[in-house]
Amino acid sequence: MSSVIEARRLSIDYDTEHGPVRAVDNVSFTVARSERLVLLGPSGCGKSTILKSIAGFIRPSSGDILVEGRAVTKPGPDRLVVFQEFDQLLPWKTVRDNVAFPLKVARGKSGAEARALAEAALAKVGLARVIKDYPHTLSGGMKQRAAIARALAASPEVLLMDEPFAALDALTRGTLQHDLLALAEELQFTLVFVTHSIDEAILIGTRLHLLSAHPGRTITTFDTSGIGAAQLGSPQFRALSEEIRHTLFGRRSGAAA
Amino acid sequence: EGRLRIVEQFGTVYLPLHVLRDQKLIEKHGQKAGLEIKVEWTKLSGGAAINDALISGAVDIGAAGAGPVLVLWDRTRGSADVKIIAALGEQPNYLITSNPNVKTLKDFTKTDKIAVPAVVVSQQSRLLQIAAEKEFGERKFNALDDLTVNLPHPDATAALLSGSSTITAHFSNPPYQEQALQDPKIHKVLSSYDIMGGRITPTLLYATSKFRNENPRTFKVFYDALNEASHWIESHKAEAAETYIRIEQSKLDPAFVKSVIDSPEVSFTTVPKGTFKYAAFLAKIGAIKTRPASWKDYTFEELHDKQGD
């Protein structure tokens, strides 16, 4: 069995002042090598929570998560995360050093090599101009792009991305979606991707895992391995998009996003 | 007039003040003189703090060792004009050691450390300097200074008695020296009486001239009461010991306190003794700038008909 990630009957509770609150309820999925699983669901349904528990930051209340067949016990650089937060860049490092950092500490690259790789990755996300700047001088979208560059430069076996493109304009977003898919093709990493955009989910994912609103339960899954950038805007694509929308929200949505 | 703020330190040498307080002698003498006197007693530690208090006017009468008093007299000449009111009593200070090889000052070696309350400037340090000058010759008064270290009396006593520290000698003070000497490992090297060639009064009461000029009656009342207290102690040593224990809320053994104040070397007198030699030495080494012509230069007139020196 070549499943890289396996979540079995996963439930996650947060302990709060008012007692435990269930965020994720009995969710199971498997992700095979070089598959791209997208978690899709309404705000607050537990997408980030699931991602953090794959990353090893949160221990499930019940059920378990296996990565490469072994139970996740701690975080590690085999599963790099792009967080949802803007402040995930370390403020005391320049943008370049932020990207070079995991290359040095987790990939054993030399300083010069790490810097060179970092610069290349930053150029790809359009941040060549600001490599020597500190993160606090970046705009929201620029911070997010730097974080994406940091994760991609380190080419992990498993990549966990939490709404990485949410703060980006259409052009930048399109470019990065394209780059991500190309890189996935090339490096064959396994991806778990959180988004609230249905179209993005179809484009990026080979499989979509739909979650209900709080607490997150599995609604259904879609196989979208056959659909890629080439199908974008096609009737098939739009039909699937509508179907997913309907499954999630039960009616046609009037949102412009 | 009518208010007296007195500051003292810790030790049996302050016994006359304890008696004043215990028997309300100042108040009594005040009434005799037709003065309602309110006495405030304060305790401070260290001559420097007492000097500050006196100059700032926070207290009226202070008690400290001859060293600080003479320095203060020197520095305030022409301004506050601090002078000595009276002595508290004659008491010896012993240089004691736990090093069996030390019989005289010459026997101290580099490995010995002599504890004094304040290196160079304290009463004990000055006494040691005078002794050193005698022992090693003129201008060699600081021969032993390098062996001295700062340590308050109680800590020095504890260190010496514990035997586990680098302190091998202590220029001490009653009642610590008596306490220490109860230990057979400790012996006396020198007494301040040996050094000064006679009995001395190590602790003195002093005030500013301003205070005396502005409160002549209160001043007189205090002086008279003090004399009465001293006389009373001389004839009531056992009761005086009890007074000490009561006023100081001391946990010391009354018999021990009595043995300290009952020693033939101790007597309670208001007349300063041995201060002039001391002042002359301070002037010689430059610690005070003015060389007094006589002991009367730095004492108030009340004492001038006494046989002091």
Binding site: D15, P20, F57, R59, T73 | T42, K43, S45, S162, K251
Partner: protein, 281 residues
Amino acid sequence: MTDHIAEAPIAATGSSARRLHWSALRRSAMVRRVLVLATLALLWQLAATFTASPLLLPSFTQTMTALWDGLLHENLASATAASLGILIKGYLLALLLGLIFVSLATANALCREALITLTAMFNPLPAIALLPLAMLWFGLGETSLIFVLVHSVLWPFALATFTGFQSVPDTHRLVGRNYGLTGARYVGSILIPSALPSILSGLKIGWAFAWRTLIAAELVFGVSASQGGLGWFIFRNRNELFTDKVFAGLIMVILIGLIVEFGLFRAIEAVTVRRWGMQRG
């Protein structure tokens, strides 16, 4: 194996442990504290026994006996109360002055420079430097003690608080300004809560140094008549070489320190910075 993941990551992401787990942790925090204290007492007892020099280092048991004795038969309790009274006055006054000072420094560039300069100048000054001035201005007694206490608390507290204010995230500042908050309202509703971890650390340091200073200053400013605080209790017994009572006095300081830390500061932390997710255990 799962314990490791429970340890580091849950501490990292917050209160994600299960209910039972949490109360077990609480219990074990208590257990750990007792363990630490017991170990210390044991080490002390051993060191004292080994040293065999009760004049320098009385044993734990001797000290406890002296403490008991001091509380029952001597004025240890009232001396402690007297010290505590003065301490609290000086401490609160210093906090008030510190807050005013730091607030002014936040509002005005000249005040800011003045605060930084004054702190750098006066913070390193020992209390000895203030004695003559204190006596000159306040005479002997409580006022002078409070003056010295304020000096020892004001600067470190102001420093910690000012650092906290300067580290308030921009977004919090902007939100406050956006609602038109200025002056005391801005300081009170934005800067103070946002800087609370630093302020609490300043409060703790100030509290500790207030004690250190008070004990030392009581010796210098002395006592009138027969009353006197904990510092005087210690000094007197030191003068009479009752080292066990000296240590009993110090144990009082330690006990009060522990009570204030766990009864007050930790409690405040629990309902503020920890509850708000601004500080992790």
